[in-house]
């Protein structure tokens, strides 16, 4: 009787060596793209990635990769192949793929109400706002708000977030109060289709007061405000009577946190040409004001931003330099023990390192327009996204899906333009995207490409969206591969 061993004989580990006549592994679906001159990034069907040398990837695809190599072991562990030891790989991949796509069935979760276009600021890059006292022309009416709310509540999503935007949304605070109370009443009266409601007020905080904050506290409403950086930059970007936008924002943040709690107040920044050489100072401003992160945003190519040549004032590469410098600085802060994150990177890392899709509208395929977020404009028009209404302000109403008082839920969500945009821009079917290893992390964004190229898909070699995101994907992966501290940090951001 032979002796039992806990270990396999050497011949077991040699299976798959190049001297074997037949390769004994099967490829599972994967894509690869160049990371640099010597390495590829590979992604499997569930979006898990691996970096390997070009030689190894060619050998692997041609069934010549020895099963003893480190690359082979990694490929097996991350479900790029099946062999005698990994029969479960297709099942595991399927489960991860299903998890990644779970959100699709939820449909529209974010409903944006533009309660007014009026604003007391006169920011030169703003896409939509009006300096007007004319409430009749630029405020949403109660009838329109009720109709929009009814549409929002029809969404199959269990989690519904209502976000109030402007102009300066607080200039029509009475309507915000009405919508919040009505939404809660609807929920109470419809126990069968109750939603988990969330409310966000996007405001520059210039006109915030205790009455408003008391209402926010009572109804668990969170505040999303604007902070562009240090005082000089913020005030330059955001002119208003009295030149005190920064002071009002900082005081408003403190006042709001005192009533609502620190985690109920977030801030967004807008990048202008004046921002490009002071990314560290912008980040420091956020750190000093006790934010746990920043979203380093590119400027939208819409509206007054284009009219005033703000957008063309800097190209994608200049923005990328700004972004990478900022990200490096944030990593350095973390090395020094200051916990701080960059939110766009964190969103992408969640897609790269987990099976969860964070549902960020610009990085969704099928596109997130209308299926992830939808906009009810101040005049009752329904737009497929925030960018779609900005495009409309420039005179292009391509993505107007209907009107809250004139069209049904079915007419709005089965709108031909919407369906065409969703179908045509589906990244897995788009030239170049279909073969791109980064496709699981990327998105379709038909509104951006329509605005820039007059085409729902756009030619990707010329697409700033593609250039910007590809560069960020490569940068994030390269950083994780070359620095263990960064890998640990990014894992934390992703989860």
């Amino acid at each position: 009787m032979g002796r039992m061993s806990k270990f396999q004989p050497m011949t077991f580990y040699n299976r798959g060596q190049s001297n074997q006549p037949l390769a004994n592994y099967q490829l599972l679906p994967f894509k690869f793209s160049e990371l640099d001159h010597s390495r590829y990034v590979m992604t499997n069907i569930a979006g898990e990635y691996l970096v390997a040398s070009k030689e190894d990837v060619h050998a692997f695809a041609n069934h010549n990769l020895p099963s003893t190599s480190a690359t082979y072991i990694n490929l097996r562990a991350r479900h790029f192949l099946t062999d005698a030891h990994s029969k479960m790989a297709p099942d595991l991949l399927a489960i991860k793929l299903r998890t990644r796509n779970e959100r699709l069935a939820d449909f529209t979760g974010l409903h944006i109400f533009v309660v007014t276009l009026r604003c007391e600021h006169s920011c030169p890059y703003c896409q939509v706002s009006r300096q007007s006292e004319d409430k009749d022309s630029f405020d949403m009416t109660i009838d329109q708000a009720n109709a929009a709310l009814a549409l929002a509540m029809r969404s199959p999503s269990k989690n519904i977030k209502l976000e109030f935007q402007g102009g300066e949304s607080l200039l029509n605070f009475d309507l915000i109060k009405h919508i919040v109370v009505e939404a809660k009443r609807f929920n109470a009266e419809n126990s069968d289709s109750q939603k988990n409601l969330g409310f966000v007020i996007a405001t520059n905080l210039a006109v915030i007061n205790d009455e408003i904050l008391g209402f926010c506290k009572e109804h668990d409403i969170v505040i999303s405000t604007s902070l562009d950086g240090p005082k000089d930059l913020h005030n330059k970007n955001r002119p208003r009577p009295g030149h005190d936008s920064y002071q009002r924002a900082i005081e408003g943040i403190k006042q709001s946190r005192n009533v609502l709690g620190r985690d109920k107040v977030s801030a967004l920044m807008t990048t202008t040409e004046a921002s490009l050489n002071q990314v560290e100072a912008i980040i420091d401003e956020y750190v000093e004001n006790n934010f746990n992160g920043i979203f380093l945003r590119p400027l939208s190519p819409y509206g007054f931003a284009i009219k005033t040549k703000f957008y063309r004032a800097y190209n994608t590469q200049r923005w990328l330099d700004f972004y990478v410098k900022g990200l490096d600085y944030i990593i350095e802060l973390n090395r020094q023990g200051i916990e701080f994150r960059e939110h766009y990177a964190a969103t992408i890392l969640t897609k790269m390192l987990t099976s969860t899709d964070p549902g960020y509208v610009d990085l969704m395929s099928p596109a997130g327009i209308a299926t992830g977020a939808i906009v009810y404009n101040y005049d009752g028009a329904v737009y497929a996204s925030d960018e779609a209404r900005m495009l409309a302000e420039m005179g292009d109403k391509k993505f107007k899906l209907g009107h809250v008082l004139e069209n049904s839920y079915e007419e709005i969500f089965l709108n031909e333009t919407l369906l065409e945009a969703l179908e045509d821009s589906f990244a897995q079917s788009v030239p170049m995207c279909t073969d791109c290893a980064f496709e699981p992390y990327c998105g379709a964004d038909p509104v951006f490409h329509w605005g820039q190229h007059g085409d729902l898909v756009g030619r990707k070699p010329d697409s700033e969206f593609c250039q910007r995101n590809m560069s960020i994907f490569k940068y994030l992966i390269d950083s994780m591969e070359s620095d263990k501290f960064v890998r640990t940090l990014f894992l934390r951001w992703a989860n």
Binding site: Q26, L27, L28, P29, F30, K31, F32, E34, I45, H58, A61, T82, P90, D91, L93, A94, I95, L97, R98, N101, L104, A105, P431, M432, D435, R459, P461, D462
Partner: protein
């Protein structure tokens, strides 16, 4: 300035060459034809870089891109059954596939 490259049709697929030309369409325009057993690509450079060195570098990029695209074709073909199996299994109980939802009553 026009250059011509030839690819053996026994080794390279026409689709792989087409995709490679598309990927570099910000710097070149390619016209693909077939002559005997070769794909012939007539290339016009449209980018800013017109130096001899720049053109040779772009041509090398195109050749490498054709190799990559050709390999992608092979992988896609070889993994088609498992890709379909995984996708079908992943969505089998989501109710997103109308026929299935009705057939097993999951969505009724």
């Amino acid at each position: 300035m026009t250059f011509t490259l030839q690819f053996d049709a026994n080794i390279y697929s026409g689709l792989a060459i087409e995709k490679a030309c598309y990927r570099l369409s910000d710097v070149l325009a390619g016209v693909i034809s077939k002559k005997d057993n070769n794909y012939v690509v007539d290339i016009t450079f449209t980018g800013k870089e017109k130096s001899e060195e720049g053109i040779q570098s772009t041509l090398s990029r195109l050749k490498n891109e054709v190799l990559d695209q050709n390999l992608r074709e092979k992988i896609k073909l070889e993994t088609e059954p498992s890709r379909n199996l995984i996708l079908a299994y992943a969505f089998s109980r989501t109710g997103l596939i109308a026929n299935e939802a009705t057939a097993d009553g999951a969505n009724e």
